[in-house]
Symmetry: C2
Subunit: 213 residues, 2 copies
């Protein structure tokens, strides 16, 4: 049976809506108090898993899910061996460098060597500063990264920014944008090549849905 | 000012109660809708940060928090350079290996070579299987680890078990216990040695509270 991996959180509603538009209904995941981690579409043609963002590419890479929907940010961070099939357009945000509004730095190029940068996305941060040839000390945090500069543990952060409200509320400002991110449909490369469980048709239908304005 | 790092989640209530018992009140973190990440005790003697579990040792290691309360499981996984000061007794759970109830394995020693093990605690899992001299393929997952065996992605998991309800609900059973875990008071080693901001007295008071039955 076709298995799809859905990410909890900000992308879930739009992901479910998109699958509904091609005839697969996983809206049971939106019911309050829902505790199941895997459900079947009522027609019995497909199954969905609900996962943390970062786990979506893992299940797809191992072929446990044929398809998954996850942010480009996660794909950049995890560098999982999955096929990026469709840019779905929703879930727009950007990966940015931010500092305190009172910071003297106006650009990442102003950072002194070995500046401390806190991030959930240390892979993305490492690649970015390496590219700029700025040696930085990365501090991995799993949440509330904005506390890094607030407490003085780090001068800067690299984090996802959607509206910028969290940054402003915490007295931070964006300096640089590493990249823009949107939700992506990803697939298990071999299953896609072999068109297992009708994957090709699903992907084609989804591409059609996304192209319709 | 003395700064303490508190972990969100299962340990928070008991951590706050313990600080209350030595005269520091951070109960504002328990108010519904609380969004602040750092608060001061009403007497103005100390500040508390509220963090994800795994970030507590980071803030303490960097000296941004003098003290922190976090599970022994996190300390084992992160191997942060912090001083373990007091075993607080609460938050009891164990790190266990579990498999499906229908699995043929009755002990980790039955596992075939290169068995797949999913875990949030890949460091603990790696150390355990290395000790047993069993080569395993570790799969890092950030949540809902029980889906690993359910979907067939992994034969086993290494995860924290408190009551065992989650395992049972997902058709899994415990095979082995890696270690027992409880909440620990940890401190920044140098600050503790220098008795900064009255840390020594706080630690002594806490030790007293914990020893009183």
């Amino acid at each position: 049976m076709l298995t799809v991996a859905l990410a909890k959180g900000a992308l879930l509603k739009d992901s479910i809506r998109l699958f509904q538009s091609i005839g697969l209904d996983f809206s049971a995941f939106l019911e309050p108090g829902m505790r199941q981690l895997q459900i079947e579409d009522p027609t019995g043609r497909a199954r969905a898993l609900i996962l943390r963002n970062g786990d979506v590419p893992v299940y797809v890479e191992y072929g446990q899910a044929h398809l998954g929907i996850v942010g480009y940010d996660v794909l950049q961070e995890k560098r999982a061996n999955v096929a990026q099939l469709v840019d779905l357009g929703f879930g727009g945000c950007r990966m940015s460098v931010a500092v305190k509004q009172t910071s003297p730095y106006r650009s990442a190029r102003d950072f002194p060597a070995h500046v401390r940068v806190a991030s959930k996305f240390v892979g993305c941060a490492r690649a970015y500063f390496h590219e700029l040839d700025i040696p930085v000390e990365l501090i991995y945090l799993s949440g509330s990264v904005e506390l890094g500069p607030i407490t003085g543990m780090s001068e800067a952060i690299v984090d996802l920014v959607a509206t910028g409200t969290t940054l402003r509320e915490n007295g931070l400002q964006e300096l640089e944008v590493l990249f823009e991110s949107t939700a992506r449909l990803v697939g298990h490369p071999l299953s896609y090549r072999l068109n297992q469980d009708g994957m090709g048709e699903i992907v084609a239908n989804m591409r059609q849905q996304v192209m319709v304005p």
